[in-house]
Amino acid sequence: MTDVAMIDVAMIDAGPLLRLRGISKRFGGLTALEAVDLDVARQEICGVIGPNGAGKSTLFNIVAGALTASEGEARLEEKKISGLPSYRVAAAGISRAFQLVNLFGSMTVAENVLVGAERHDRLKIWQALAHRGGFARDRGEAVARVRRAIELMGIGPLAALPVSRITYGQQRLVATARALAAEPRLLLLDEPAAGLAGPEIEALSGAIRRVRDAGTTVLLVEHNVDFVMRLCDHVAVLHFGRKIADGTPEEVRGSEAVIEAYLGR
């Protein structure tokens, strides 16, 4: 039995965590993505960059289950996730933070993160009505995840505040903490640095590295090339819906196609 378990682990560890194959997306006559392949390895920070309209957000939304690919397949390890609705993608182990801050406005910071930390696969109505049936245990486990996420993002002092009372930069950290609190295998960040000032970006980079070091794989799409080049282990570049480069930041920085796409020639 031990042998079988070991073989399983070895097999799973062999491949990438996220594997995209031939992902295309068309909106009417417009092709937003054309046959994109991408492998995201375990415990790496992978950044997808590209000029405006390159298809970054579309790719991101397909992985998160917010959009359905016209063609191609996305797998998290062996599980096919393309075509699943967002809540099932979340249940499979992928959490996302949004580009625009999408917090639950009636709640405090900690409650927002708590909703992210809780397992919503079963309703458990009786538990809700009577506060019985594992109520305290489930909540205790979720609160432990909330604590880890809040500390990784460095927002402990804000925990008890209503989200309406904190700054935009803080709200972004809360949104990331909420996604992180699910303790996903893959954390998706949509333009995490957008709208943040210099010191906030530094704090964010530190937080994302801590997340990676704690064992979570991170996939982010981002406008800020500098931020991505300094933070990511692996960078892919999209241009007009096609992947034109894929490698380490150094490899990508030296790529002719990338220089051409960004500077124009």
Partner: protein, 329 residues
């Protein structure tokens, strides 16, 4: 460093809250011995039964965020099922409770599946049509519902050989109200309750957090209908007659006003508004037709002066006189 998150795990029922609720319930339970006038006892029972319904409506509108106008129909299904089974088919009045509740839940599930896909005004119109349909059905399906004359001679509930009238029905209604209030209060601080609030606050984010929004809303809606059905059951065995008036739009709108005056989502506010709007017009000697008008004026005043309703006012007062201890120090 360890972030203080005790407030997330604070017991929902602190000693202070249990004491406040206990005193309130004790006082309410003794009320029949304080008011000797039968008319006032009837009024008090009516207010309590109405409160069961308005708390259910408050949950649907304020918490789930669905502007439902179908709650009169859910109450009606429970009331009519209880009346028909007890009066025509000799079913024990007690045994009609689970049937009435299940019937209202089934009705909610039936209309909920297609209707909950709609948003805002469209949802309201769809639930309104269901409410209107229920009233027309009650008026026209004479064989089943007794038509406009309704059903009379409904046997009363019997407990230990005594018919439940007056004080007995008051106390029973109070027990149902208590169970319902505890239930809603518990939901508010549960994962299910947070999933409902999250779906109301922000759908894309709720989906990304792994919440199946459609399923969560439907469960909340059906639960709320179950409570409305239990209010209908109480209504039937309180009045012992039943006619389609219970399904009329007038009543639906009075309930709606109560929830708006009370403040969406605030149980305390809605309970307070139910008492004010239930007793006020009666004591001042207005006829029921004028009640809608008075309620309408009250809604206007509240919307202008206290946008968060009575619940918001109570909260502000509480904060002023009993400031909460800082979350962490």
């Amino acid at each position: 460093m360890s972030t203080p998150l005790d407030f997330l795990e604070r017991p929902a029922w602190t000693a202070r809250r249990v004491a406040i609720w206990g005193a309130l319930i004790f006082g309410l339970a003794l009320l029949p011995w304080a008011i000797t006038n039968g008319y006032y006892l009837t009024l008090a029972t009516n207010v309590i039964i109405t409160m069961v319904l308005t708390l259910s409506l408050n949950f649907t509108i304020g918490r789930i965020g669905l502007f439902s106008l179908a709650h009169s129909a859910f109450l009606g299904v429970g009331a009519y099922l209880a009346a028909i089974l007890a009066q025509r088919h000799g079913v024990s009045p007690w045994a009609t409770l689970p049937i009435a509740v299940a019937g209202s839940m089934a009705a909610a599930a039936l209309i909920g599946v297609p209707v909950l896909r709609l948003r805002g005004m469209f949802l309201s119109v769809a639930t309104l049509s269901f409410g209107l349909f229920a009233e027309v059905f009650a008026r026209q399906a004479t064989d089943v519902t007794g038509g406009a004359y309704g059903i009379i001679g409904i046997p009363p509930l019997v407990l230990f050989g005594h018919s439940l009238r007056g004080t007995g029905m008051y106390e029973l209604s109070l027990v149902v109200l208590l169970v319902v209030a505890l239930m809603f209060e518990n939901i508010r601080t549960s994962r299910f309750g947070r999933a409902i609030a999250a779906s109301r606050d922000n759908e894309p984010a709720a989906g990304a957090a792994g919440i199946d929004i459609a399923r969560t809303r439907l469960a909340g809606f059906v639960l709320s209908a179950a409570v409305a059905g239990s209010a209908g059951w109480l209504y039937t065995f309180f009045h012992l007659t039943l006619n389609p008036y219970v399904l009329s739009l007038d009543i639906t709108f009075v309930w709606l006003f109560v929830v708006l005056v009370g403040g969406l989502g605030s149980m305390r506010g809605v309970a307070l508004a139910t008492i004010l709007l239930g007793i006020g017009p009666e004591l001042l000697g207005f006829a029921s037709t004028q009640q809608v008008l008075i309620s309408g004026v009250l809604v206007l005043i509240v919307v202008l002066l206290a946008p968060r309703g009575l619940g918001g006012l109570v909260e502000d007062l509480e904060r002023k006189f009993f400031p909460a201890p800082p979350a962490h120090d």
